[in-house]
Symmetry: C2
């Protein structure tokens, strides 16, 4: 009920967390102190465009999680589509019981209620390395009753979610996140950058003042490091992982 008191402590502990279990426990603590009953953190790691990897840290009922997966509710869940395109948290009462929301969404929200997920709020998390994550905090209370809890928790949960994701990144670094640690040399990045900008090998070679063969060489090396074979794939991967981006000028 007093999120402020514990937020800084929990954030400090998140920074030091070394295992998923520790993180889970800290989420549970945050959830409790903020006045919520359930939490779910989910992250989508862009290991591939068509088959990304998902990480979940769940304080949700297992049965509901299973049904959610089996029925493909990720494509229906209105909080997911909001968080995928926005930065701001969304209270569930803003998406579920709206009059204009379609039948499918209404049924989905109804089913969630059967598992005690009556009200709640979702926080979007977008990292510079292309991951997309969400922190969901749920309450068994009705929307009206939970409103003050949600309102009060917004700032703290916003901050908490940022540290939470960085903690997850750290813990999973050596597993699925290994691609984002790929080190590209300056030349490789330059070649990828101009390639992403639509320049041909010949154009890039003149921009950089080297031979065409050298540009090809660097792009091949970059593709190799990114574990792909084609140029456009290397460019897509590099952009998605945030390995190439502007700065000066």
């Amino acid at each position: 009920m007093t999120p402020g008191k514990n937020c800084h402590e929990l954030v400090d502990l998140l920074i030091k967390a070394k295992t998923v279990e520790e993180i889970h426990s800290l989420c549970a603590d945050f959830c409790e102190y903020s006045g919520f009953d359930r939490f779910l953190y989910g992250a989508r790691i862009p290991t591939s465009f068509v088959k990304p990897y998902f990480i979940f840290i769940s304080g949700y009922p297992n049965e509901w999680r299973t049904r959610y997966t089996v029925k493909g509710y990720m494509a229906v869940d209105p909080t997911v589509s909001h968080c995928a395109t926005h930065l701001t948290p969304i209270s569930w009462d803003q998406v579920g019981p709206q009059e204009n929301s379609d039948e499918q969404i209404r049924m989905f929200m109804g089913e969630a209620r059967e598992f005690g997920l009556n009200s709640g709020v979702s926080f979007p998390i977008h990292s510079a390395q292309g991951e997309f994550a969400m922190l969901n905090l749920a309450s068994t209370k009705s929307h009206a009753q939970a409103k003050p809890t949600i309102q009060e928790a917004l700032p703290y949960a916003s901050l908490f979610s940022a540290y939470l994701h960085e903690a997850v990144r750290r813990v999973f670094e050596h597993q699925v996140l290994s691609l984002s640690r790929v080190h590209l040399t300056d030349r490789e990045k330059q070649c990828l950058l101009w390639s992403a900008e639509g320049k041909t090998t010949w154009e890039t070679s003149h921009i950089l003042g080297v031979s065409e063969r050298t540009v090809v060489f660097h792009l091949q090396n970059a593709a190799g490091k990114l574990k792909v074979v084609k140029r456009q794939q290397a460019v897509a991967r590099a952009v998605s992982l945030g390995l190439i981006s502007p700065q000066l000028e």
Copy 2:
């Protein structure tokens, strides 16, 4: 001094803000209520990889801003490099006076102090549409004196920065952000997705069950909508703008 009291009100006003001037005014209010003296919001819009567009909403001294630009301090500023790769706010005392920080950074921080930017904190903002932004809150107080102010403001500023960026997005929608509003058809997105995954035209045509010519057709249309000419450029742009991303499975 009482950020909590006004945060929700300011956020509500941000949602309704229609002009840059309104947003500037709300930032100034937030800055004041949180106990800071200066603010600077800066956003990098990925209009192009090599020459992005920048938006600034500044409550910083103009002279400092000019010097910053002229001297290319964006490439030196340690808060920029932190925010570009992280999600968590960074207090300036964590980057400036460190013993291991190099001479260039120390000089930079020293110059900032000459303009009354003695201490402060920077919040990273990463949107799903590829924009990267920062909210900087600065104080004339010393690091030690400003510490409680910063600590107290962290959660509120974290939430505020999310709403701030969405407000800026809304206001600038019809200008530099027009590319992120591009509508691609399902087929166009599918072709781009498989292309980003490294599939050739022939492979994509078999995956989608259409002719090679059709895949070429869709990719050309997509490239046209994204105002580019090459396939790899279209893929890079689409990835960067968040127009293609996974979801189901």
